[in-house]
Amino acid sequence: MSQKDVAETVGVTRQTMNAIENGDYNPSINLCIAICRALGKTLDQLFWEDDSNEKNRV
């Protein structure tokens, strides 16, 4: 699923998705949940940072 597809599914612009992915913008919880639903992942899987996940990556 491309960045553009996710953006269209969630209802935001591709630039907003790009800013979230690069860590330039912290999305609201509602938007986080919408992204998780679009990708079929949980909040932990996408947004939780630990040793195995890189910092500031969706």
Binding site: A7, E8, G11, V12, T13, Q15, T16, A19, P27, S28
Partner: protein, 148 residues
């Protein structure tokens, strides 16, 4: 009128740009007052305020264009293309008319900006559209490069 919906990043950016435009306008008015205080007339009464407001508007729209906060995410690509064509067309017309007005002004056939009146205001409107068009074009070119 159909309400344009922006996503949350666009909304926050628009609030920020609106605040910056407001502060810019306040500082321009302050500078205008200082200039008026030293008895220097750079434009007549009604047009100088309008020119300052136009400067604030130009800043706001240009920042919105640059920050991808001008149109919402639900705009279709076709609508965007039509809108882009309209903006570029207006910018080209603005540049031509503005250039002609400048030439006429330098030849003395038209009133200079410091004389006030509709012609100088019209000229500044054209400058505003030209600036917005240029910012839009640069943004589009950069966006296309990033996508490729």
């Amino acid at each position: 009128m159909k309400k344009i919906e922006f996503d949350e990043l666009q909304q926050s950016r628009r609030y920020l740009y609106g605040y910056q435009s407001f502060i810019l306008l306040l500082f321009l008015l302050l500078i205008d007052q200082v200039i008026s205080g030293i008895s220097t007339v750079w434009a007549q009464y009604p047009s100088h305020a309008m020119i300052l407001v136009l400067a604030g508007c130009t800043y706001f729209i240009s920042r919105c264009v640059w920050g991808d906060a001008l149109v919402g995410p639900k705009e279709t690509p076709r609508k965007m293309t039509v809108r882009a064509a309209i903006i570029v067309l207006i910018a080209v017309v603005a540049a031509i008319v503005g250039g002609l007005a400048l030439v006429m002004s330098s030849n003395g056939r038209e009133s200079a900006p410091s004389h006030g009146g509709g012609s100088s205001l019209f000229l500044y409107c054209m400058v505003m559209w030209a600036v917005i068009g240029i910012v839009y074009l640069i943004k589009r070119i950069r966006g296309n490069k990033e996508e490729n």
